[in-house]
């Protein structure tokens, strides 16, 4: 079996680990204990495995681990290290945007990256921005409210 190494930084920490050519970034990250990256469909159709790679959101189930060699990845766990990330977490918790919580890591990563680039969206824009992340519990309202609340803070 052909083995390769991937070297990348995840949440600011250097990771170097073996992988196989066909291993998805999702499987690779989960194998390396980043279990906050969730596996919902493995076809890029639910968004629970969303991570940020070089400032872009990516569904990690539809990217080869090897393609991320040398890149900078952020998962939901890394959000605590960033001011906007912490504010989003706070807002999700206080707004009641979390029910079963399984979509939350992907959802909040998507929101973080979106607000980084669009600090002052309205609710309709937020809905579009998270339309690649499915949620079955909340009906999205409190998720949109939580993200919007942070956007409103941004105006101050």
């Amino acid at each position: 079996m052909e083995e390769h190494r991937v070297e990348l930084t995840v949440n600011g920490e250097r990771i170097s680990s073996a992988t196989k050519p066909e291993e998805s970034l999702l499987k690779f990250l989960r194998r390396n204990d980043f279990t906050e990256v969730k596996c919902g469909c493995e076809k890029g159709e639910c968004g629970t495995c969303t991570v940020i790679i070089n400032k872009k959101t990516v569904k990690s189930c539809i990217m080869l681990a090897l393609q991320t060699n040398g890149k900078e990845i952020w998962t939901a766990k890394g959000l605590e290290k960033q001011e906007l990330g912490r504010r989003l977490q706070e807002s999700f918790v206080n707004t009641g945007a979390i029910q079963c919580g399984f979509c939350t890591p992907g959802m909040i990563i998507t929101a973080k990256n979106y607000l980084d680039q669009n600090p002052l969206p309205d609710k309709e824009e937020i809905k579009k921005a998270i339309s690649g992340n499915l949620c079955r519990c909340t009906g999205y309202k409190k998720i949109v409210d939580a993200i919007y609340a942070v956007a409103v803070e941004n105006q101050k």
Partner: protein, 766 residues
Amino acid sequence: MSEFKVVGKPMPRDDAWAKVRGDLKYADDFSLPGMLYAKVLRSKYPAAKIISINISKAEQLEGVRAVLTAKDVPHNETVTRFGQSLEVGKGFEGLYRVLADKKVRFMGEAAALVAADTEEIAEEALDLIEVEYEPLPGVFDPIEAMKPGAYLVGEKNTNIIGEFGCGQGDIERGFAEADIIIEDTYKVPFVDHAYLETEGGIAWIDDYGVINIRVGSQVIEHFRDVADVLGLPHNKVRYIGTMMGGGFGGKEDITVETYLALLTWKTKKPVRLVYTREESILCHSKRHPFVMRYKVGARKDGKLNALDAELISDAGAYPYLSPWVTLYATVNAAGPYCIANVRVKSYCVLTNNTFTSANRGFGAPQPNVVYESLMDELAEKLNIDPLEIRRINCLTTGKALSTTGQIFKTHVALPEVAEKAWAALGEPTEFKDENKKIGRGLAIGLMSYGRMTFLHDSSRSFVKLESDGSVLIRSGIPDLGGGQVSLLCQIAAEELGVPMSRIKIYYSDTALTPLAGTTTATRQTYMSGNATLKAAREIRKRVINKAAELLNVNPDKLDIINEKVIVNYDQSQYLPLVKVIKACNTAGIELFYVAQFNAPFTITPDLSNIRGMTFPDFTFGAQAVEVAVDTETGQVEVLKLTTCYDVGKAINPLSVEGQMEGGSIYGMGYALMEEVIMEKGITMTPSYAEYIIPTAADVPEVKAILVESGGGLGPYGAKGIGEPACSIIAPAILNAIYDAVGVRIKNLPATPEKIIRALKKDFFKK
């Protein structure tokens, strides 16, 4: 007690931080050293005879640790239960086959299990298992399956596995006296729960030979069923329930647990099994399709005076909970209306489709689609406003359910909820696009919370005050995302005057926590809420009595607030809670208590003519929508959505709103886009690209209106909301579509094509 301190306040959930940080370990996030990976071999045919299974090649593959087939399962044929420990009659305990044996009943039925060193090896081993099938014709339509001489799905001589009836009055006379009669047949499809977390778990054998199963399950009481399959004493199987990534009824039946137990038992190693999305859609239970023939009669003034309903549910390949679901539908068939003459007959039928079982709503949403559509048809024909006709006919406090005659002793918030939901739509949306027509729809409904009373339901909870004033709760309650666990903390915090941060709860572990019963039937707020309330109040009493002694005041003058026992007429007089606890400990007064709460018990009714109480209580609600229908493409956009329920008391408004908002969208998907399409038993929609659920871009802003009558049987007068929240929206949307373009959809989902076929009949003729 004085006014609430914690209850009724919007509360960030106990589990929210772990979830938002990604720290929470769901079933698939947990590993053990030396763990094996399991895969399931699934039947390629919906109906076939298994001639032979050859596993020798798979066994020889390096890294394969076990390959199991039906013959390796000690008790392969058992019965499905859902946690009940009492006899409820054979009618409800259908055959449950762990691994397919001789006859395959549905496509994707498990035929063999593999455990191997890696997932890849396990998958490769599946390809090496040789199964020789002899395909059989099968039957895929419940109506066909009911006919004499139909293909027999199981081993019995009929496919009908449940037959129920109820009603009152004289149906013939009722129709004779009606000024108007409407007769129609409605159909609803298979629906998937589509929770983001697929079914999964891990099992291991501990030092003492106990099989531990860490799994996302709504029913940890299944430890008994797993033990029975292996022929072990019940105390040799332990369930450790994880927080679930959504349940909605789909994790109510056994999913991976038995497979895990068998494989870990065989290999003596930890084993993990997690379904792929395809597997989940293909092989776990679905919501029941129903064929519903209705006939309703009313007088000119709009008063209903006759309803005759025949309900036929597709149970799929195995009974599971189908008889129960059908029974729920039967009792719900006449909706929240007073009708003097009612007859309901229902059948539950096996087919070679994927098996159906619990799905949020449990038999309430299906008939609701019909009776609420028919109410609007009547309203139109009699030229009465949709809200008015519901006012004229709806149940009120003290009235009786028209199907079973169960009397509503608790508050019935009708027509109040309907008026509020309807009014909340506000001014009609202005629209410029001439191809889009605006329409509005209203629907009301009821759904039980708590299990059927003849199941003699009960729940237990352990509450303890630690010597430092922190609180420990132990409850078997599983949490599927609704905040069930956090709710118990809130109740204890309220009663014992300590902040949420000082409360720790251990939940969902059959070895450590008193069994709280299943997180199903919208029962946990009611059942485990009351059990926890009872336990907490017992501790509270003991603390207050001791404090009264020390302060030398009358106990009823004392309250516990912010960890102080305070004299309520003189706040300067108090004792720190910790001090009182010390005094109790010194005096040998126990500050822990296990309480059991029992629901009302009734005897099993005559199922052919169900009368009297079958449920502890019901939740009443109404939903209204405004839609825009594209008259050229048939696309429907929901512009406004309001939902109003009498929740009795919202213990945590954030969670209650969450259920109402989420339930609305769950139901909106049912109305507009969701269908597990099966062609001759083959699932055509095994992915999120084919089984589509609403995205954030598809949803309107849901307006949730909470009515708090305080009239519920739960703690502080709370009612259950989880399932009722999703059970009414579909017909509201259908009514709105009709209002917009005059098309009455009688076959969910209301896809653009169905609407266009009705609008452009002449085009589709050619």
